[in-house]
Symmetry: C2
Subunit: 606 residues, 2 copies
Amino acid sequence: MPAPDTRPGTVTTGPIRGSRKVYLSPPGHPGLRVPLREIALDDPQTPRLYLYDTSGPYAEDGVAIDLAAGLPALRESWLAQRGFEVVEGRAVRPEDNGFASDERLVAPCPAARTLRRGHVGQPVTQLEFARAGIVTEEMVYAAHRENLGRIAASDEEERRLAEGESFGAALPALVTPEFVRDEIARGRAILPANINHPELEPMVIGRNFLVKVNANIGNSALSSGVAEEVEKLVWSIRWGADTVMDLSTGRNIHNLRSWILRNAPVPIGTVPLYQALEKVGGDPARLDWEVFKDTLIEQAEQGVDYFTIHAGVRLAHVPLTSKRVTGIVSRGGSIMARWCLTYHRENFLYERFDEICEILRRYDVAFSLGDGLRPGSIADANDAAQFAELDTLGELTKVAWDKGCQVMVEGPGHVPMHRIRDNMTRQLEVCSDAPFYTLGPLTTDAAPGHDHLTSAIGAAMIGWFGTAMLCYVTPKEHLGLPDRDDVKTGVISYKIAAHAADLAKGHPAAQAHDDALSRARFAFRWEDQFNLSLDPDTARAYHDATLPKDAHKSAHFCSMCGPKFCSMKLSHELRGDAEAGMQAKAEEFVAGGGALYVDAPADLPA
Amino acid sequence: MPAPDTRPGTVTTGPIRGSRKVYLSPPGHPGLRVPLREIALDDPQTPRLYLYDTSGPYAEDGVAIDLAAGLPALRESWLAQRGFEVVEGRAVRPEDNGFASDERLVAPCPAARTLRRGHVGQPVTQLEFARAGIVTEEMVYAAHRENLGRIAASDEEERRLAEGESFGAALPALVTPEFVRDEIARGRAILPANINHPELEPMVIGRNFLVKVNANIGNSALSSGVAEEVEKLVWSIRWGADTVMDLSTGRNIHNLRSWILRNAPVPIGTVPLYQALEKVGGDPARLDWEVFKDTLIEQAEQGVDYFTIHAGVRLAHVPLTSKRVTGIVSRGGSIMARWCLTYHRENFLYERFDEICEILRRYDVAFSLGDGLRPGSIADANDAAQFAELDTLGELTKVAWDKGCQVMVEGPGHVPMHRIRDNMTRQLEVCSDAPFYTLGPLTTDAAPGHDHLTSAIGAAMIGWFGTAMLCYVTPKEHLGLPDRDDVKTGVISYKIAAHAADLAKGHPAAQAHDDALSRARFAFRWEDQFNLSLDPDTARAYHDATLPKDAHKSAHFCSMCGPKFCSMKLSHELRGDAEAGMQAKAEEFVAGGGALYVDAPADLPA
């Protein structure tokens, strides 16, 4: 077995330029250290701004990362006191790693962790605790993250909240642990946190919280080592991915997943069907409940936080796709449809759904109910197949809740703008407010090469309408494997969509970011402007492209308009003049009987 | 005077890869040759697709371009018979070229054109012709372009139109010349076409037509020659810019503009205020009506098709900006605000608006009423200053219409999603349905470096709501001068936004593009998929990045999921199986009393 490449320095570490990772404790919980990204500004009104931070310990200044040891197990003490069963765990089998031969087998991550499982009947999931009225440490932690460093809401923030349009959501001015608990209890939010993922920095997904972003990663056929695979995770969360789905297939997936999980501060999602299919040689006809169940347990024990389960692709739905322009475009959906048609039997994931719930509950793996029949083109949007499956997902949501499991529901895909709202409205109704988790949607099929953008339009809109988490799309969608730049572009594009949605919903703290940036812009504080960008490096590089000197970073213009035509420069001079002279002039004119200035119409925001 | 660099080959020519420029004649008008981009496909259902083509003769196969001769003057014969006055024209003065010294002076374009001006009282503008019930050649031409090669609307297209959501717009199934005339007559559309711009390929801007895109260009301080400046135009229209605004300042602007106009197949817009300011040495205080009027005549004679006029920045509005986070961010707006405050007098553009109309009418220069007080940040969106100015623009729209001038109205800017619709609704109401022309809007301030995307979200939405033309934003917005790649990214991003808007409005022909692409995708016709992309080169390059071989261009998978996990491949196999066996199986089950397949819910689209 070759030694995996776990040398330090092979994943990206250190702060994002212009930022500093800080840990703040929620009031009354000095032992909890909640991460935030602090940007120090040369602005008396906002000397520092706190942003939500998904990057984990990697972004600490001077951090030493030992991939073999894994991240600090910050939940360990919380989990240890919950009385879970400590188990041996399932033995790893050759098929778990795609029958990788010895010389090709990557060793598993050696980090030692206590393997736990809930007893039958014992409360395990955050949903079960919430229903029992218990506020877990995870809830306290996640609540504090949502407040972006605030411990009270200002009048200004309350006003923004009142002025937003949230389409019936119920965002609070300040998120309390009890609010998180209540939202989880009623199924409107999930806190994905497998009890075997103690490294997790807890976060919450629901329409009454900040809109979240997921990034997909997967192994490469020619991976050169462990650090390279972990780096995909580290790179995604550095730019803001709130969760990461590991869609790896092929050899070494079990062992590579152990490296990812032990080094992941964010929830990790998977599609267990992919690995199950690998175990049966890639032939959907050979899939059965036993191999699937075995895979669920395998991954649940490793610590995967949520599973996409394609239980909604019922045999009866498959013919509804026959006239579609693009058939079935979900991998999991097409695999299960194939299985159903081969045997002309009902989807075994649907038939075994109770048993799946029982397994997931014991580790608190959340469901991400897969939309195997999502539309793959504008022509197929909102069609009978899609909505028939959604009805089934609504039915399964209730089953899972009854079994104590947390649930979110996956959504499309490709949808023209005028059909997006209907997706959200139906999902909320059919799935009883369970969080929606959508892929885009792409608002046109006509621009391969730019699908991060075609889909960011739809993502921003559906996020505004109520989607809780947006699955990113990279520029390479439909065309090939994303590289490092594509992943960053995808994540940043989706952070923009999520933030635009937060702003429109009236999230009380969202606009502080925009205001700080705009004040920096108006004051020509270029460094602050770069540092406040969701992508500081690109903002700086674009400015450097024409004005690279240090002196340019305080110049009262940029190369876009030049000094003579800089509206902001003129506007400043104007303001100085205005302040000096306008009042006097006005008084003079008013004294002379002239009405010079118009009042603001009464119906406008101040 | 150095000879300008007008060597052939210095602007981009030849077809977009996978496309061919064709010219089709509208029924009954064999003499009119309307350009379209034809994509030949390996698809029995759509053997060829026609896209709207803005690229001019440059994209013809084997075209020879002579910048000094200018483009063919296709409108010359139409204009010649309208009885306009033929004039000498205003003599060029040193200040027109920024007092460029002899050795720095670029020679004007030598292409000879008849200089025309409407007689007082004679109908000149497309609006005046339309009101008189006259269908001009320009209207016939523009109407045919809108139909994308169709001469009738199919049932399918009628259905899409009925199913779209156009927010009260009145898109027809097929655009007739009479429809164009009627829309212009009631002010809901403009056809910007200066009578001194005979090279123009006429197009129409209005909410009942395809959503249009504008790109901004401007001279560089260190321009190496004429071809380089014309290339900015050629490059923008190659990727789909419907109009181009020349925002040049400084030396040689008059003469460079002559090269641009003589070689522009699209409407050219300018902000005459910029040149007027140059003429008075860059000091707003030295601006007056005489220098502005002189500039209007100078540019109207050259053939500029629309002018941004900041007549809505009234003295009384300026104090409304004093509490803003970002003050005044329009260059024209800040210049006029400065002038107003300096003299404490009403904006002379407002006071002289009648005279401005009289000048513009005689050349058919359309108004683009500038929004000098547009918000420059989320915080300033929809504020009193913005809407006070909008009210004035509504008042000026009626004045311009009374004077026979065509009008569109400029809009923001920076607007969070939940405030976008209000912008459109108010503009339609206040400006009596005159076309809206917006810059984005950006839906967040927080992502400099990605403002093509933050704004494409807002642009798609406001385009859907009714905006007629979207002014592009490049990735360098707020940071520096866009380069060639930035301009392309900006134009493609906005073509996406415009197309997404057309789809959502239910434009009858828009979805044909998406459907053709999606069919190509599902059939693994990779070449067709690339060729159908709004950006064929990028789509191809992204596919080549992992699968460069020719054989990969017909492979039934791509590197994104690989062959084993390609949902479309599985879906195809499924469909084969399904067609062969599903019907038989269904009959078998039905015969046995089982109800296997569910019917589509009645309220869904087919």
